[in-house]
Amino acid sequence: MKRFARYIGKRLGWYLLTFLFALFLNFYLPRLIPGDPISQMVSQIAAGGIESDTMKKLFETYVHEFGLDKPLIVQFISYVGMLFRGDLGTSFSQYPSPVTKVLGQAILWSLALQLPALLVGWLAGNVLGAIAAYRKGVFDHTVFPVSLFLNSIPHYALGILLLYFLAVVLDWFPVAGGYDQALSVTFSWAFAGSALYHYVLPFMSIVLVTVGGQAIGMREMSIYELNSDYVLYCRSLGIGSSRIVGYVFKNAVLPQITGFATSLGMVIGGSLVTEVVFSYPGIGTELFNAIRQSDYPLIQGCTLLITLGVLGANFLMDLSYGLIDPRIRAAEMEEAAA
């Protein structure tokens, strides 16, 4: 147990370092914007015609928040300090709302959409891939190309197709939003029903593409396992095929778990942009709007949350992987002990 704690501690330390590095990128890269970003931003906000008093106040807010007059390292430390107090700065486009307030709602919508969609897609894809590998024949010859094709379309492009065919042409689903705008966001049956109705298409877009990717990987892994010696041995002993499938599935699914966690960083971009297609009120849509309006604090807030989510998922996966795979557990712990 002590060893396991040390293993966790080591991983945690590594993730903290990685997070610090990501934090630095998040802090530093927007500062590379050519020219004086603050004047640029303020003049953008002021384009609508604000009194000089407000303009001055705006300017001061941002000079203070960015601390541009101080050396870089001091700026970075005060940036991290602000984060620890749960302060992500002030949004430009929705001034004077703080970024945390703007993103507070969005993150709930995104989690409610992305998490179940990715998990369902992962599960369905793995089962389908395993069956395709085992059944061979016609089933395999259809599952494989279809999965590959689905996985070749980015989430949002599939979203556009679903939106057009199922919402515009057939009029089965709503064309935009996360809920009926006539309803207020409350815990009522009407609201839940409307949210669910708006949920179907974005959910399907993400699930289908994920199923494709996972099925391909799992099929490959399973073929790999099916060709291995222990399967031959089991067969020669006359062990029933359902038990063999059980063994094969267990072994093949392990790399699929870490593989999925690691690929999350790649996948999440596409699945967040899906929200843009449906104007779904999540982080992806906020990010899109923030980019269009050059709302740098809001963009930074979004990228920070996305990074945090992906790193967190990877860390959890590392932990659970240590628990499910005894081989990894042994190897990693020896390394940690050494």
Partner: protein, 279 residues
């Protein structure tokens, strides 16, 4: 290399995917040469339906979609190829050095790889491209390449690590060859098939990354790509007003390009990885 290509061609999947890919390339290269219509010229009214003279109608800017699509395909292919090249080169160099050198070099390079593996490339891409004043096609491609090499590096490192104990590598080392020439002459040829496969996948993911950035409004400035076409169609409400000819063609082309590349990759995997062949 010739042998490699011959063996690749013997796989039906590689052949089918390859032919599909070549068709797309030919479309992207030939239409701009054969047609005198400029992709940014207003040729009529916005959202004209497909007709005999304009096969795919016009988009929200009243541009000829068929012509625009060819230019878009060209840009997307260019981004994909350049990004794939950059990613494969960086990944191979970092991975090979880490795997061959071991020790401190490996420690540093491997940490760097792991760092780039978990930090979402999507995030770095957004942060980088929003801080650029000029976003040309090539610059965007290079940036995409720089953010996506970690996968290549990880596999190359593992393979080089197992290859470096081979006897012919030892002989080269005793004969006094330098690190770089040993890696280039004694190790990389053995993983050439893998490198080609990695490159093919990186091209596909480069094209998808460009499209994702364009959808967010961070695509190449002043150029037409498949991603910017989708993004314009969406923002001009082409989807909700039913102007299918403005958005289905770029979606289909992106899918075709990526599908053909992934199909080639999968076919190559079966050729070079005998354990994946079915008995």
């Amino acid at each position: 290399m010739k042998e490699l290509l011959r063996r690749m061609w013997s796989a039906p999947k590689v052949r089918a995917g390859g032919i599909l890919f070549v068709c797309v390339v030919v479309y992207g290269l030939l239409v701009p040469v054969l047609s005198s219509v400029s992709p940014v010229k207003q040729v009529g009214d916005p959202f004209e339906r497909p007709s005999a003279s304009r096969w795919l109608g016009t988009d929200n800017f009243a541009r000829d979609v068929f012509v625009e699509l060819a230019y878009g395909t060209r840009t997307s292919l260019k981004v994909g190829l350049l990004a794939g090249l950059v990613a494969t080169l960086i990944g191979t160099t970092v991975g090979a050095l880490a795997g061959y050198k071991g020790g401190l070099v490996d420690g540093v390079l491997n940490s760097l790889t792991n760092l780039f593996l978990v930090i979402p490339p999507f995030v770095v891409l957004i942060l980088l491209s929003m801080s650029l004043r000029t976003r040309s096609v090539s610059l965007l491609a290079v940036i995409i390449g720089i953010t996506s090499w970690s996968w290549v590096s990880r596999s190359v490192r593992a393979q080089v690590y197992s290859l470096k104990t081979r006897r012919h590598v030892d002989i080269a080392r005793i004969s006094g060859f330098g690190t770089l020439s040993i890696i280039a002459r004694e190790i990389l040829p053995y993983i050439l098939s893998y490198l080609v496969m990695a490159f093919v996948l990186q091209v596909a993911s480069g094209i998808l990354n460009e499209a994702t950035l364009s959808m967010l409004g961070l695509g190449p400035l002043g150029s037409i790509s498949l991603g910017t076409m989708m993004s314009w169609a969406l923002m001009s409400e082409a989807v909700r007003t039913g102007a299918w000819w403005a958005f289905i063609p770029p979606v289909v082309l992106i899918a075709l390009i990526t599908f053909s590349l992934k199909y080639v990759n999968s076919g190559m995997d079966e050729v070079f990885n005998p354990r994946l062949r079915r008995g």
